[in-house]
Every structure is written in structure tokens, then in C-alpha cells.
Symmetry: C2
Subunit: 273 residues, 2 copies
């Protein structure tokens, strides 16, 4: 996945780079593919970039809705760096692919945003389920969509986020089916990771959270739920992108789905216990 | 409940006793009623007393089945004291009511076991769900059978305990229905209390653990489970009594259901986090 690091400029030795730095350098050099499975062990994040005049309201939205929008990093106004997530990180080049939004529509999906950068932009990096999925897998819990090489199924719910300024809308959730004892274990394992959505928000009765048909996700791919299984739902980092879209902002930038920021944080560092 | 402490012998001042010591003294003086609601905050325990020649196998059974049989105290052979659970505790007198078993049958339910005590007996005190119920209530989670002043519904399952010597049989579970988000919270809260059954063993699909009709518990009282609720099942301290019965031992003593040992331990001391 990060083999495009071979495209690094001559003389730049990538052999000693950590997997996360190598992944970001690969992006800088044109790698544009999913980051699923890239730099295992390292925290990946959802991206939201907004003009300063909207950033405070968005920050408040995240503060009020920490389960779908757990902030793991923020930039200074106009600064494309977030040293806490990677000393050399440049948010303008270090993701595989971006979405540029105007008035609620994706107008471009570039592999860098150098041409779109502005001195008034503020960067938000939001925790992502890849981190807790690593913990679930490490615990021996099977994850259906990974086994089947599909995207996780995601659903808009009837759970309203707490609104802030122009940002409002339903919580989006991701679903993973488990045998009942594994569902209990999954609650325990993911409770240790509040920075990456934490414990589930629901289990067992999809219709109670406004999901009419579990076989028809609003995003991602459907996966089967066995008669001996429980569908377990986690707050999902698609929520902030969904509310940014709904707010029809004049301008915003996000990551392209599945093509996340790879940070230098370790997933295990996010465990609170 | 502990008003029979007024029957204490003259000159013995009970005013300064802790609620747990007062409860045991009340038992010594003839109090024979449920200990539900007695000495809130203090750990209560299930009792099993066995001859030394069976005690090692029973201890091994508990070791192998820690969720239904979490040992919180043990005596030396022939010693009716367990100072770790109460300095002045005398297991022969300090429970409201006992069951004396011979060949798998209850032959007597005395309020003390002075006449049955022997130098070869070993005492086991096993954690009880009262402790984690206190934590659930403290967290604001409603407990159906408590609200309705019923006994918790309990069920024999198809989950086989790991056998040891003559001790074998199915795990008995208790059931509490919760709204889905509360069920998730209940997993978190009870996970902190491994010494008193810990996290649930099952949720959501009773038939998968051999429960054909949730409205017909094998012990305790039925409680309704709403269409918007999830039945959540915990390993239950009735399990050891059930396997003692099934083993048809020549001799054993247990507590009488609901009439537990009140210890000087605080429930909050059992929390691992």
C-alpha cells in the first residue's frame, strides 16, 4: 500500500521512516488509495477543514457530540501543520485524496489541497473506527466487513446530534454484528477508546434508532446479520462530514471516504485503561 | 430489618456498630428475613459449607467457573471465622437462615448451624449480584424486579460449567431487561465488579443459551421484557447451590435463598477500576 514511497525523491532515505511517516510521504508523492490496512498500529483520522468564521461553531458541535466527533487534533488558524499528530505533517499533502465542498456539493476530489489552502483555514482531525477495530481484532473478535473485504455498513439514525451554529443533523452509526458474548466483549474493548468513538451507542433493535432495513445501509456495504447475532452500532465519523454537507457551507474540505490521515499516534496510546 | 438488634443481650451497645456488624448481630439474635436492602453499601455473599474431603474439588470448581462462583472469602478447615469478611464474624450464627443438605435434599432450614458444625467443614463465601445491582442503581439504571419488589428471575442455561470432581451442571443466570443504551452502560458498570459476577454472559437471544420461555424463570419471579428492551443475563450465585444439589453430597450447608451473609467489605471496594 505504501510501496509508492519508492517514488520519494532521490537521496531521501525512506528505509528508516516509521510506517506512519512513510504513509504520509507516500501520499505526498501521489499515493491515492484507501488507508485501510496502512501503517497498522497507528491512529488514522477523519479530516474537516473549515474557514475560521465557521470553525468555532464546528468545534462547539464536536464538543457537544463527542461520540461521533471525537477531536484528536486541531491546527492553529492558517497553519497546515499539526505537530502533535506528526512532526513533519502537512495537512495539505499528506492524505491520499480530499473532497472540496462548495455549497454542500463535492466540487473536486484532488490528491492535495495546495491550490485550495487559505490563511483562514482551521484543521480538525477526528477519531476513526479503524483504531477500535484494531483493538477488537487484537482481542480475537471477528469483524464481518473486514472478513468479507467490504466497507463497514453505516446508517443515518433518528438520534439527533446536539446542534451548534449551522451544524445539525442525525448521528450516523456504523454497524458490526457479533455473537452475544462477543457483543459484550466488544462493549468492554471499545469502552477503553473514547477518543475513537468509544462504546457502542446502540445494540439489538435497529428500528428504535430509525434504521428500517439493516440490509440497506446509507453508506458503505451491507453485511449479513445472523439469527444468532446482535447488530452493534457505534457513532461514526461520517457524522461530521454529513452535517458539513447538510449545512451547505460556502467552502469546506474533508478527506475522501476511506482515505484518511495517518498520524504518528499509536492506537494503544488512546486506550484510557 | 435489623430492628431485632434490640434483642441484643443487655449491656451490649449496638448504637456504634457499623450496619454490617449490626446486621450480623441481628442474625445472631434471631433475625430471619431477606437481607435485600440490609446494610446498603456492604458486600453480601452466597454461602457454601462442605466437608474438607469435598472442599478441594468445590474450590477447583469455583476456580474454573469464576463468573458464577467468584469466591470472596474462605475459612480454614474447621474454623467458623472469616476475619477478612468481618473481625467478629461467626459463620454458624451470622446468616438469617441456612439450608442443611443431605444427599441432594434440603433436610432442615435452621436459623443457626451450631448443631451441625464439625471440625472438618470448610466455608466458602461467593459474590452476589446485590453488589453490582447497587452500582447499577447508583448509575441511574432502573432494575425491573427491584422496582416491582420481586425476586430477580433466574434461569438454568445450556452453558455447561467446567466440571470438577463431583461438581458439574449448567450455569444459572439472572436476567435484567434494559433499554439498549442502558444495556451497554450496564455492561460497562458491571465489568468493574469481577468479584461479584462481573460483565453479563449473554444478551439478546435467550434461546441461544437454552431459555425457551423468558416468562418462566426456573428460580425467582418473572418480569416483563419490553419490545424496546434487551434481556441481559449475568452468571448467578445460585449456580454453586444448584451443582451442590445435583452432586447429591452426603452433607453440605448453604444459605437460604435471599438470606445472605452480610460482610464488612464495601461494594465500592470490589470495583477494579
Amino acid at each position: 500500500m505504501i510501496s509508492s514511497a519508492r517514488n520519494e525523491r532521490p537521496g531521501h532515505d525512506t528505509a528508516d521512516l516509521s510506517p506512519s511517516v512513510a504513509a504520509r510521504h507516500a501520499c505526498r508523492n501521489g499515493m491515492a488509495a484507501t488507508t485501510a490496512g496502512v501503517a497498522n498500529g497507528y491512529v488514522q483520522g477523519n479530516l474537516a477543514i473549515l474557514p475560521e468564521k465557521l470553525a468555532a461553531a464546528f468545534h462547539r458541535f464536536c464538543q457537544l457530540n463527542p461520540k461521533p466527533c471525537p477531536i484528536i487534533g486541531m491546527s492553529e488558524v492558517g497553519d497546515p501543520r499539526i505537530p502533535a499528530l506528526g512532526i513533519d505533517l502537512d495537512i495539505r499533502t499528506d492524505l491520499p485524496r480530499y473532497r472540496v465542498w462548495r455549497d454542500g456539493e463535492v466540487v473536486e476530489e484532488p490528491t492535495d489541497i495546495m491550490a485550495h489552502w487559505r490563511d483562514d483555514l482551521v484543521v480538525f482531525v477526528i477519531g476513526c473506527s479503524y483504531s477500535f477495530e484494531e483493538a477488537l481484532l487484537a482481542d480475537g473478535l471477528p469483524i464481518r466487513h473486514i472478513e468479507r473485504k467490504l466497507r463497514v455498513p453505516m446508517y443515518r439514525t433518528n438520534i439527533a446530534c446536539t446542534p451548534a451554529g449551522p451544524f445539525a443533523g442525525p448521528m450516523v452509526v456504523s454497524m458490526r454484528p457479533f455473537k452475544p458474548a462477543d457483543a459484550i466483549r466488544a462493549v468492554q474493548v471499545t469502552s477503553r477508546f473514547p477518543a475513537v468513538h468509544g462504546a457502542p451507542v446502540h445494540l439489538g433493535h435497529p428500528h428504535l434508532i430509525g434504521i428500517a432495513d439493516i440490509s440497506k445501509p446509507d453508506y458503505g456495504d451491507a453485511v449479513p446479520v445472523g439469527a444468532d447475532e446482535i447488530p452493534v452500532f457505534w457513532a461514526c465519523g461520517v457524522t461530521p462530514q454529513s452535517v458539513i454537507q447538510a449545512a451547505k457551507l460556502p467552502f469546506a474540505i474533508t478527506h475522501s471516504p476511506g482515505q484518511m490521515l495517518v498520524t504518528d499516534l499509536l492506537n494503544k496510546q488512546l486506550a484510557v485503561l
